[in-house]
């Protein structure tokens, strides 16, 4: 099942490996009553290590968002275990180390861009002046300079998603869970967002679990791709994405290595897309 990590040899080398931040084991999710049970996620196990950018890739409806939501504690699991560092993830319990970015637009429309980005700091009770400094630099990082006082309805979808991203990142989460955050954006805006995210991540190196159905996106951003099968979601494959960093979201796509890995994973992914369609 694992094609790359399996080759790592002795236990001495293991000590040098970064520590495991997210450990998912035997995770399953079923919906409905016993007679008409639907399995969304079936016995999935994987680990994400410190500083890894892992893409969870699979066709629509394969349960990848369900997995992420269980890791975030937003959804109860049916079986298996999820650990973040040494702690079991309990549904409804918020882990301060974890940041989450939704696919849907969840910025607060009644708050200005500034107030949205500063939300977490505000409720944590950070003094106004410190908050303002942080928010200002976040606005600059996100390329939203000049829009601090705007309300979200005045912004485009891409800009709103930048606000949502910065609202999460300003809390300096060590672990970042992202649920197809750029899924609703057009191709050009998506590329711009990739640039921004790569810039930030290559500086901060958070541990990221990123759900997507877009292979190009997964290859551009991640250092590892976990491929899920069509519903019910099972682990299908695990690829290392070794492109050099810092990466350029646009020119990376023109390299032969990118094309080779793309084709390679595409065959594997294509089978799953066909299976989804056949259903």
């Amino acid at each position: 099942m694992t094609s790359t990590v399996a080759s790592s040899p002795a236990s001495s080398a293991k000590a040098l490996e970064p520590r495991t931040r997210i450990a998912v084991a035997g995770l399953s999710k079923t919906y409905g009553a016993a007679s008409r049970q639907v399995t969304a996620v079936d016995n999935v196990s994987f680990e994400v290590r410190q500083g890894e950018f892992v893409a969870l890739l699979g066709p629509s409806g394969c349960g990848k968002s369900t997995i992420l939501n269980m890791v975030a504690g937003l959804l109860p699991k049916s079986a298996g275990s999820i650990r973040i560092d040494a702690d079991d993830v309990e549904q409804g319990l918020v882990n301060r180390k974890v940041g989450y970015v939704f696919q849907r637009d969840t910025v607060f429309p009644w708050r200005t861009v500034e107030a949205n980005i500063g939300y977490g700091l505000e409720i944590a009770g950070l003094p106004r002046q410190q908050r303002r400094d942080k928010v200002e630099s976040a606005i600059e990082t996100a390329g939203l300079t000049g829009f601090g006082r705007s309300f979200p309805r005045m912004l485009s979808g891409g800009m709103r998603q930048r606000v949502a991203l910065m609202r999460t990142l300003i809390m300096e989460p060590e672990i970042l869970l992202m649920d197809e955050p750029f899924g609703a954006l057009d191709t050009h805006t998506k590329l711009e967002m990739h640039k921004t995210l790569l810039d930030i991540w290559e500086r901060e190196r958070q541990t990221v679990l990123f759900v997507t159905h877009d292979l190009g996106e997964a290859l551009t951003l991640s250092s590892r791709i976990i491929l899920l099968s069509a519903r019910p979601g099972r682990l299908k494959d695990d690829f290392a994405v070794g492109f050099a960093r810092p990466r350029d979201a646009v020119s990376l796509r023109e390299t032969p290595e990118f094309a080779r890995l793309y084709t390679h994973i595409w065959h594997s992914l294509g089978e799953e897309f066909r299976r989804t369609k056949a259903k």
């Binding site: 937003l74 301060r96 969840t106 607060f108 429309p109 009644w110």
Partner: protein, 283 residues
């Protein structure tokens, strides 16, 4: 654009002039020209008075036309137009305020708790089925002829309007926004304060304009049934004397009060809801 505006204003003004003219001279003109059976009884000044008569009644009731002087007239009558208006306005305001606060609080609590909502549902349905006006005699019996019974009446009327709107608003809050707030470290109370309330506010405000009119209706009906002062009391007194002009004065004052209250609420609304597209520009 401005051309159109001018045209609209012109027609609005023209209609006003026609209404006032028919009101003032219509009945006499009909009586002079038409056979008796065709004269419209509805235009009889006995019922609807006349603009000039209403105006002089206004001057009299407002103490502008008293021989003893305005201030002497004002102190002689403890239900002159000014006091009556202030009393009605004051009772409307307090009834509106208490009804609004209680309605929002109840709506938030039941909206956030499925359990409590289920328990109270039959009671809410039952109470809401009572025509509020039917309670007024009972309220006056309980709280007396003074201002308190009017405030309670207005508050009860307003309460249900605000309760249902807040309840719906609270239930329609985006679940993902609540999840986002929680993931950013918000406690249940913080979620309520920073997500549920602002998001339900759009619903709450949508109901404030009708609520303020309902509060005024509640107070006036209370004054009809039993009161010492107020615009409603003025109308009842004028009715006893079959004085249409004085009734009309009170009705016009109520109209102006109603417009004023609605305007204030609308201004507040467009400020607090400025994040919503429909409140982009000041109307």
């Amino acid at each position: 654009m401005t051309q159109r505006r001018f045209e609209i204003l012109f027609w609005q003004f023209a209609i006003l002039v026609v209404i006032l003219a028919v009101w003032q001279w219509g009945y006499d003109a009909c009586k002079a020209t038409l056979p008796k059976s065709l004269v419209p009884g509805i235009l009889d000044p006995y019922f609807i008075s006349k603009p000039t008569a209403i105006w002089s009644s206004f001057l009299k009731l407002a103490c502008f036309a008293d021989k003893a002087g305005t201030s002497a007239c004002l102190s002689a009558n403890d239900n002159n137009l000014w006091i009556a208006t202030l009393v009605t306005l004051k009772n409307t305001w307090w009834g509106f305020l208490w009804g609004t606060l209680a309605g929002i609080a109840a709506g938030l609590i039941l909206g956030r708790s499925e359990f409590l909502a289920k328990i109270f549902e039959p009671y809410v349905v039952a109470l809401n089925s009572i025509p509020r006006i039917a309670l007024v005699p009972l309220i006056i019996l309980m709280f007396g002829l003074g201002d308190l019974s009017k405030i309670v009446t207005a508050a009860i009327v307003v309460f249900f309007v605000l309760f249902f709107n807040t309840f719906e608003g609270t239930r329609s809050v985006d679940r993902d926004q609540i999840a986002a707030a929680r993931l950013l470290g918000a406690s249940e109370m913080t979620v309520l304060r920073t997500v549920v309330v602002p998001s339900a506010l759009a619903w709450v405000f949508a109901s404030l304009t009708p609520a303020v009119s309902f509060a005024l209706i509640g107070v006036i009906v209370g004054e009809f049934i039993g009161a010492e002062r107020g615009l409603g009391k003025l109308i009842i007194e004028a009715e006893a004397r079959a004085n249409a002009a004085e009734m009309m004065v009170s009705i016009f004052v109520m109209m102006i009060v109603g417009i004023g209250l609605a305007y204030i609420v609308r201004r507040l609304q467009s400020h607090l809801l400025r994040w919503q597209p429909q409140f982009d520009q000041q109307q």
